[in-house]
């Protein structure tokens, strides 16, 4: 009987699952579509991760190192799952490199993708160079180490964060009605970082609600305001235009507290992107026939289980952002939880 565990996805959740399995000496195969491990934080070049304010390599390098060193974990890069037949604990899976494996349990950690802001045409992304995404802002920090306006390379005098782009939005269909969970906190952190490094830059956050839940309230909402003087304005940005007269953007919104429409000049506008299930997540859901949320298409755990890493399909476990927006800390702990659940599942069926 098969004893191998298949981990799909080499991002934070997949890495943490593989690391745990490797530590326990369980034969594990980790497949990753891209040519490097680390998932979105490494691939996209994030600068600082919430909530611990550490860099992606600080957080993920120990995981990658341990997975690569482990004798029981086999890492297969540039590889995808093609098909899966049979039932647990006797899955017969086929990979894109032609290899066929006998697998006892599967951990799905296929993650998310960032919302494409071109779908919100009124926000001018892709039209005005000074409208950027919060992902591009992260890359600006991590790759170039300085803040500038893409149109002229100069430091902006004032900039705005536009919350909930691609989140909580029925206009995009039922797929994007959920909250992205990380946006408020990350914007608070980015705004604080900017104000700390460039006190002369005025930073504004345009919000509907500020959802820095739990212990995130102080570091990512109070501190940006109290310590760094970031200004929060309640009102969703409805349109972004450009004025040739002064070369600045205009953000059109209603200040709902003042109850007046406003078109405020801005040098740089940052769109805070929502999270969507990745293409890989949707594909794996089809191959493995996993339950998905009918609206968002994120994977959903078994209803009868209190755990959120157990899928409705026996022997398949789900972890990380394939189940909905999540922060890195929870993603890592879900990977560990899924690994242990998979282990218990195999232990019940297989004599080790």
């Amino acid at each position: 009987m098969a004893k191998t565990v298949l981990v799909i996805g080499g991002g934070p959740a997949g890495l943490s699952a593989a690391k745990t399995l490797g530590k326990l000496g369980i034969p594990t195969v980790l497949v990753e579509k891209e040519n490097t491990l680390g998932g979105r934080p490494i691939l996209e070049g994030y600068h600082t991760l919430i909530p611990r304010k550490m860099t992606p390599s600080q957080v993920l390098a120990p995981y990658i190192e341990e997975v690569q060193r482990s004798s029981s974990v086999k890492v297969k890069l540039n590889t995808q799952l093609v098909s899966c037949e049979g039932t647990a604990p006797d899955f017969k899976v086929k990979l894109s490199d032609g290899e066929e494996l006998e697998i006892a349990a599967i951990i799905v950690a296929t993650g998310f993708q960032h919302f494409d802001p071109r779908r919100k045409g009124e926000l001018g992304y892709g039209i005005f160079p000074d409208v950027i995404t919060n992902l591009e802002l992260e890359q600006m920090f991590s790759k170039e180490g300085r803040l500038y306006r893409p149109s002229n390379g100069q430091l902006p005098e004032r900039m705005a964060f536009v919350f909930c782009v691609g989140s909580r939005d029925r206009q995009l269909g039922v797929t994007n009605v959920h909250c992205c969970r990380y946006g408020c906190a990350l914007s608070g952190l980015q705004a604080s970082e900017i104000r700390e490094k460039y006190p002369q830059v005025e930073v504004f956050c345009y919000y509907m609600d500020v959802r820095t839940y739990g212990t995130w309230e102080y570091p990512f909402y109070w501190e940006p305001q109290e310590k760094y003087g970031v200004r929060y304005v309640r009102g969703r940005i409805a349109e972004i235009t450009y004025s040739h007269s002064d070369g600045k953007l205009r953000i059109k919104h209603e200040d709902t507290i003042v109850k007046r429409p406003a078109e405020i000049p801005m040098d740089l506008v940052v769109l805070v992107l929502g999270m969507e299930p990745s293409e890989g997540t949707k594909k794996i859901a089809r191959i493995l026939d996993l339950a998905q949320d009918p609206d968002s298409q994120f994977l959903i755990p078994a209803q009868e289980s209190g755990s959120n890493v157990i899928s409705p399909k026996a022997g398949v476990f789900i972890a990380g952002a394939c189940k909905g927006p999540i922060d890195i800390e929870s993603s890592l702990s879900e990977g560990e939880a899924a690994a242990v659940e998979a282990l218990a599942f195999i232990g019940a069926k297989v004599t080790v």
């Binding site: 304005v233 200040d255 429409p261």
Partner: protein, 253 residues
């Protein structure tokens, strides 16, 4: 073209000239009418710095607009809904001065009960912050003299001179300042209550202790009216006060 519902538009946003000739064409009256948009065009971000430079304004950044203060405020609850400290803080932070100026007539109405400050979950010293906003506005010349501010000055002058106020003098002096004719006795030039062209309610107020025969209160008031009470050693403290006021740049009479 006539606007049918002109009353619905703020008068300051309606531009209209009764007589206007452009290139020999007569466009007098409604033909030249322009309605300015309600859109906020920009913030005045320097204003927040000016508020925070006031010693009372330091805590303004801590506000997260929950309105605990306004919900507790007796002025808002019992007097005028336009007195809303939470709103003033928001406007000051963004420097929306045209909006702030709409409230300059009510912004002085704080009765200093300090409920807002004691209850604020974020530790904003609300009452002080509102005063700091007023100070910053006043330094920019955005506030005219409002009746309550004039009264504050009148009240202060009495305190500055004697260390305390005298009820009769304050009341009748203020009434006189408002343009009423107050009858005074020829010798000490003290006002005679319930005589002269003073408002009816004041006459009634002055007569009330007489009617109720509250002799003690009456005698005390009469004594104070004739001989203005003064705080012990006030002159020494007055020198300190004068010095502080001079350092603050306030003119002292």
């Amino acid at each position: 073209m006539a606007i049918h519902e002109k009353s619905l538009i703020d008068p300051e946003r309606v531009l209209r000239k009764d007589k206007l000739l452009i290139d020999g064409i007569d466009i007098s009256g409604d033909w030249n009418l322009i309605i300015l948009p309600r859109v906020v065009q920009d913030y005045d971000l320097k204003f927040l710095k000016e508020v925070m430079e006031e010693p009372e304004g330091k805590t303004i950044l801590q506000c997260y607009q929950c309105s605990y203060c306004t919900a507790s405020c007796p002025v808002h609850n019992y007097w005028d809904e336009r007195y809303n400290p939470r709103h003033f803080i928001h406007l000051a932070r963004l420097g929306l001065l045209d909006e702030l100026q709409k409230y300059t007539d009510v912004m002085w109405r704080c009765v200093s009960c300090h409920k807002c400050t004691h209850r604020c979950p974020k530790g904003v010293l609300v009452e002080e912050v509102v005063k700091a906003i007023l100070k910053a506005m006043s330094k920019r010349g955005l506030i005219e003299e409002y009746p309550s501010k004039k009264f504050d000055k009148f009240f202060f002058d009495a305190v500055y001179q004697y260390g305390r106020i005298e009820d009769g003098e304050l009341l009748f002096g203020w009434i006189e300042k408002q343009g009423y004719r107050v009858t005074k006795d020829p010798l000490l030039k003290k006002p005679i209550p319930f005589m002269g062209n003073i408002p009816q309610w004041l006459k009634e107020l002055a007569l009330k202790p007489l009617k109720n025969m509250n002799i003690g209160f009456l005698l005390l008031n009469a004594k104070h009216m004739l001989f203005h009470p003064k705080t012990k050693e006030w002159n020494r403290f007055k020198q300190v006060l004068r010095k502080v006021l001079e350092e603050e740049g306030t003119s002292v009479s």
